[in-house]
Structures are given as structure tokens and as C-alpha cells.
């Protein structure tokens, strides 16, 4: 079974399995994934199999399936599309790990650590092209177009973030624009596909696309907060990487905005220094200035806007699960 989007346990109780109504469908997604990525070359198959260890929250296919059910109709097309979006997400992770020189992803060695950068770059390409081909097998050019549009923005957002790396003057507006591209766009795409292929009307499709976008923004802000104040054991990956790579995220942008010119200079020097423990040194400043709280509030605002869009749906168990999932995106430890 797929792990649920984990929330900190409350009152000693395990959280309910968010994905239980779509457990069978998620298994179908896994089947499509495995069949699509098969290779007759044993060395290629070994690398592809390794990546199946990256199995994470399966947030994107789960959202696509939950939205389809909440719209009242889930078909095999949704299983195929679920596999497509997961492959695209995995492709971006594999390439991110090269760019970040990351050695661990979801508690296992990254492809670049176990093989090399060359293998990672080509594996990411392999995942991208197989995702596009798989979407084309549905014989509906709308799916290809929607997925193409979303991945265009994802790549533009990632490229932009890379080129802005080290720009310690980045503003809040640029930050939102970038995370909208690199994260929210694909999540919005999942919700759009889930609704569209269930036959929902245009208004519902648009509302659920906006739901996905706001949820994606909330998710990324929460992720950026975890990079600053999270626990490496819980997240299963290296933290503090944004700082190490001089990528400004919302709490840091807020902190810089609140600082005097002299304070800004000191903070920028601290961030640009080559030393370790930048995270530990910055936390007191981030707490004192209220920057962590500010970012958390912005994430909650986005989640709130996402929740409001769900009103386009009739009440149902899957709509309720989308609501729980949306709240949990902000309040998580991994």
C-alpha cells in the first residue's frame, strides 16, 4: 500500500488512510507504471527498478483519482493519466537530484549516487518521453496538450529558479511565480485531468484546476518550511539544501524584507558564507522576525482558497478526503 500523506500523530492515534477509497485504483496506476517502464535491456531495467524505491506519497495520482471519484466517474483513462503524472514528477526528482548533488531520496541512494550523473540525466529523459508516449496512447490529443502545457511551465519554473540561484534580492512575487510553475502547475494539471476525464462540466473543471493550483502553492511553501525547520529522519532527505544553494524561499524573503540595510547585509553574508550550520544560525532570526509564522500563514491562506473551490462538488466521501488532505498538506512533517 502507498503511505498516506503523513500528519504528526495526534493523541497517539494513527491518522486514517486518506487513500482507502482509491486503493484499488492506485494499484492499477502502479501496474501501468511498471508495464510502461519495462526495458528489454537488463542494465536499463535495473536503473528503472531502483527508481521504484522512490515511491513516495503518490500525491499526484492520488489527487487525480480522488478528484475523478468526487466528480462521480473514474475510468481506466484515469489510471493511465495517474501513471503519466507520477512519471513526470519522478523525472523532475531524478534531474533535481543531479542538480542538487543529492545522495539520498526517500531513504534510498539517488540514481546519481548509485550510478552516475550521466545515468540520471538519461533516466530522467527516459521517464519524460515514456510519460508523453503513454499519454498519447489514450488517443485523445487534449490529454497530450494539457500535460505538455503543464510540463512546459514546470521546466520553465525550474530553469528560472536555477538561473535566479544566488539572487538574494528575489522578491515575494517572483517566488510565487516560480513555485506556481515548478510545483503548483503539475498539481493543478492532475486535478484538471481528473475532472475533465470524468466528464465534469467546464466550470467544475476550472474550479478544480484552481483548487490544485492553490493546494500546490500551499504544498511548496510547506516544503520550503520543512527545508528550514524539518527533521531529516522524518523527511528522508537532506535538508537545508535551499540555503546551501542560495535559493531564496518565502521565510527568507520575508526576513530580508523586515531587516534594516545593515541587517540585510549581515544576513546575506551569512547565507553566502561557505560554512555549515547556516540553518541553525538563521532559525533564531526567522523566529524573531515572525518569518516562519508568516510563511505558514501564507500556506494556510492558499490551503483555505483551495478548500473554497471544493464547494463546486456535491458532498461525498472523496470530497471530504480532499478536504482532509488539503489541511494536512500544511500540517505535515515529511
Amino acid at each position: 500500500m502507498n503511505p498516506v500523506l503523513s500528519a504528526p500523530p495526534k493523541n497517539g492515534q494513527a491518522p486514517p488512510d486518506l487513500y482507502s477509497p482509491i486503493a484499488w485504483d492506485l494499484e492499477q496506476v502502479e501496474d501501468v507504471l511498471a508495464r510502461t517502464l519495462e526495458s528489454r535491456y537488463s542494465r536499463v531495467a535495473a536503473v528503472v527498478n531502483h527508481v521504484s524505491n522512490y515511491r513516495g506519497k503518490r500525491l499526484r495520482p492520488a489527487l487525480l483519482l480522488l478528484v475523478a471519484r468526487a466528480c462521480g466517474r473514474l475510468t481506466h483513462e484515469h489510471h493511465v493519466l495517474g501513471a503519466v503524472v507520477e512519471m513526470i514528477h519522478t523525472a523532475t526528482l531524478v534531474h533535481d537530484d543531479v542538480l542538487d548533488s543529492a545522495t539520498v531520496r526517500r531513504h534510498v541512494p539517488t540514481v546519481n549516487a548509485k550510478w552516475d550523473n550521466q545515468t540520471s540525466v538519461l533516466l530522467g529523459d527516459y521517464l519524460f518521453t515514456h510519460a508523453f508516449h503513454l499519454s498519447a496512447t489514450l488517443g485523445d490529443a487534449r490529454a497530450c496538450k494539457i500535460i505538455g502545457e503543464a510540463t512546459n511551465r514546470v521546466c520553465e519554473g525550474e530553469l528560472c529558479q536555477g538561473l535566479e540561484q544566488g539572487n538574494l534580492g528575489l522578491g515575494e512575487e517572483n517566488y510565487f511565480d516560480m513555485i506556481d510553475g515548478k510545483t503548483a502547475e503539475l498539481i493543478a494539471c492532475c486535478c484538471r485531468l481528473g475532472a475533465l476525464f470524468s466528464g465534469a462540466n467546464e466550470g467544475v473543471v476550472e474550479s478544480l484546476t484552481t483548487y490544485g493550483r492553490q493546494l500546490g502553492l500551499a504544498f511548496q511553501i510547506a516544503d520550503d518550511l520543512l527545508d528550514l525547520e524539518g527533521d531529516e529522519n522524518a523527511t528522508g532527505k537532506s535538508l537545508g539544501t535551499d540555503l546551501d544553494q542560495l535559493k531564496l524561499t518565502l521565510p527568507l524573503i520575508h526576513l530580508l524584507d523586515q531587516s534594516t540595510e545593515a541587517g540585510k547585509l549581515r544576513l546575506r553574508q551569512l547565507m553566502a558564507s561557505s560554512g555549515n550550520h547556516k540553518r541553525e544560525k538563521l532559525i533564531p532570526h526567522l523566529v524573531e522576525s515572525g518569518s516562519l509564522d508568516y510563511a505558514r500563514r501564507r500556506a494556510e491562506d492558499c490551503a483555505g482558497q483551495a478548500l473554497a473551490e471544493l464547494n463546486c462538488l456535491p458532498p461525498s466521501p472523496c470530497r471530504s478526503l480532499l478536504e482532509v488532505l488539503t489541511r494536512r498538506v500544511v500540517d505535515r512533517n515529511s
Copy 2:
């Protein structure tokens, strides 16, 4: 204007411009390319603009257009598809340059040299996704499927080549299988798309796909020969890279096949040594064993098989140009 696929000048005469009947169409392809890759982010636009310097032979769109004309019908869909295949080809070049740590491509600095590996990886992704999205804008899922199938094989071939790097026991069959994937598949795809979207019948589409595949094999063998015996000034790129990266190509596989066990050992030691001038040291062995001639003959055989497939077409100026182009692929210096 696009440079022609250059042949060594004979009798002091410049070769005729192979692409003249499709000169206007190639300009339309350039227009589609430029419009598709536009970005509102100036930093992204700068990287994309730099890649337009990579403008090479435009072999793939030219083939697609010549095939369409030879089949009797060329529409704007062909311009769009020409841009799609060129973008996919460019994406693979950009990623290849990262993997090869290449510093020069077509006489200009590579993206990894001018920016960094991160930018190159993300730019390659950007080119891939924009190509897929562009193909989806035609609203015909057949195009997406054919392009998806081809890119799947291209990436599998590249991944396989990377994972076989350093395998000095690679056989001729594996070599042909790999170049079929990494090079011939996309060229076959160009010819298939050219024919299919001109409304040619199934038999003609299949023959022209085979034409493209054999042409692609000939092209890659010729390219591998250039890497061993070419002139860096003429090709505009670093040569001897296959040797440096321990990638076995046809002449080397043939040479090893012809050698005694003791000879094989010496050759493998020479190839695996860290020294420079491996190319110069190997050439006498390759000449003596007839391995360069053997590879050239195999390339000519493939070109011959390609030419035979063109008999499915009625005589026309564009069919004649395809014939000239096919012969020139083997007999070129860049």
C-alpha cells in the same frame, strides 16, 4: 539560409544547395521554433537564444519536408512537425554535451560551458516538453504517439550506450541495436511523419520509414568514422570523444574482432589508458586491419538499402534530392 549537408568540394565546384526546393518551408520551421521557445523570463530567453547558434544541418526537418514534397503534399502541419523533431534533436544534443563535458558545439560554446550543467539539464527538459506540447497542438494524437515512440527508443538507446560505456567486449549486433535507437529511430520518425501527414498510403509510409532508418544507420556510422579520422576544424566539435569515453564504435569493434587474444589485450590497454593521442595511436591499426574501410562499406550498404526504398516514390526533383542527400551522408567531412 541553412547550410547544406556539406560534401568535400570536387573539381573546385561548390556543391548544389540540397534544400533549395524547401527553402521557404525551412524558414517556416524556423519561425515555429522561435515562437514556440519564447519565454517571458529574460534569463530563460537568453539561454534559448544561445541554442539557436547550434543551428546545424537541419537534417531532420529537411528530410521531413523533402519526403512530404516527394509524396506530393506539404502542409503547415509539416512545418510544425519539422520544428518538433529539431527541438527533440537539440534537446538530446544539449544533454549529450553535459554527459560528454563538451565545451564547443558547432563552433560556439556549449550551454554547460557558457552557463553550467544545471542550466543544460533543465534547458534540455524545456526543449523536450516544448516539443511534445507543440506536437499536441496539431490536435492529432497519432503525431504525439509516433513522436513519443521514437523518443522512447532514442532515450533507451542513449541510456543503454551510457550503461555499456567501458564495455570493451561490445559486439557488432549490440552496436547496431544501439545506434538504431539513439540515431536511426528519430530519422525514421521524420520520414514517417513527412509521408503520413502528406496522405501517402500505408506501403509508402512504411517504405519511407525504412528509408529513414537505413539512412540514420549510415549517418551514425559515418559520424563514428569522423570521430576517429575527421578534422576538428571542419566538424566544429571535439573529436576522439568516443575513445576518451570508452564507447566502442564499428571500426573498433571490427579491429578487436580481427585481433589475436594478445592483440586484443594490447588494444584494450591502449584504449583504457589515460593518455592523449589515442586516436593517432589507433589509426595505423585501424587502417592495417581494414576496419575503417569495413565500417565505410557497412555505411554504404545501409545507404544503398535506403536508396532502394525510394523506389516507392514517383520520379520528382525532391526524390532526386533525397537520393543525393543519401549518398552524401556517407561521403562528408562534417
